[in-house]
Subunit: 130 residues, 2 copies
Amino acid sequence: MIIRIESESDIPIYLQISNQIIEGIARGYIKAGQTLPSVRSFAADLGVNMHTVNKSYHHLEQKGIIQIVPKSGAVITSPQNFNESTINKLKDEYKHLIAESLVIGMPTTQIKELVAALLEEFKKSNGQLK
Amino acid sequence: MIIRIESESDIPIYLQISNQIIEGIARGYIKAGQTLPSVRSFAADLGVNMHTVNKSYHHLEQKGIIQIVPKSGAVITSPQNFNESTINKLKDEYKHLIAESLVIGMPTTQIKELVAALLEEFKKSNGQLK
DNA sequence: AAATCTGTTCTATTTTGTATAGAACAAAAA
DNA sequence: TTTTTGTTCTATACAAAATAGAACAGATTT
């Protein structure tokens, strides 16, 4: 799995890492039970600081996406027992994203089509999706 | 239109204001051609600094959602001629949001239903939606 | 015409977030 | 036993966010 860091981006590096890991899981490049690289080796690969990768991992753990085993590694968790607040935050993000789409003039049909197309794209990469 | 600021939130105040204005437009509470409150009066109402509201307005102007007329006011623009980068950023946000939803185990049907339900909710508030 | 209100611009300070750096610790793995 | 692991600590540097006060010039209201 390839991760690209854009230093010019307005998105913090630790979030760029988190987001691309999430996409990698959704696409099936990494699967539940597998382990992420150590913070030191990953940082060396990406050319960033160890603490930046560490922050990214803890960000993913807070979302319930990975589990950090002290002195061992970061393991992708199975999609289960995720907390309510994570789901509510996601729903709020959907609400705001749809609101903005409507405001800039996207028709409802186009929004539905965009979502359906993206879901198809992920399904294409990851056959195990429900 | 009522706007609530949560000081505990990790979302910056100026973004909370922007987001709720966008939702207000999507819901039809404010319509194209109408004017937003002055930065000073709005700031007084919300209990925040004038410059924070000013930042929010300029953020909305950059998105093409309002037009700031110097020495006059901030006017809601009609949904037209939006730049490509705004749309591409939106699509990227949809992609990441859907990826995260899939990772925490939401079935594709549930994602589609959530989007459809939110679209219905906005339609219910705003009859003029396409 | 005068007073008020408007967004703008400027300096200034405080707080928080981001990113890097280096060092040390204790436990797990090789 | 040596290496690797995540963790913790101090430290620095920079940027973003939020507040504050003042002043300006144009628009609006009285």
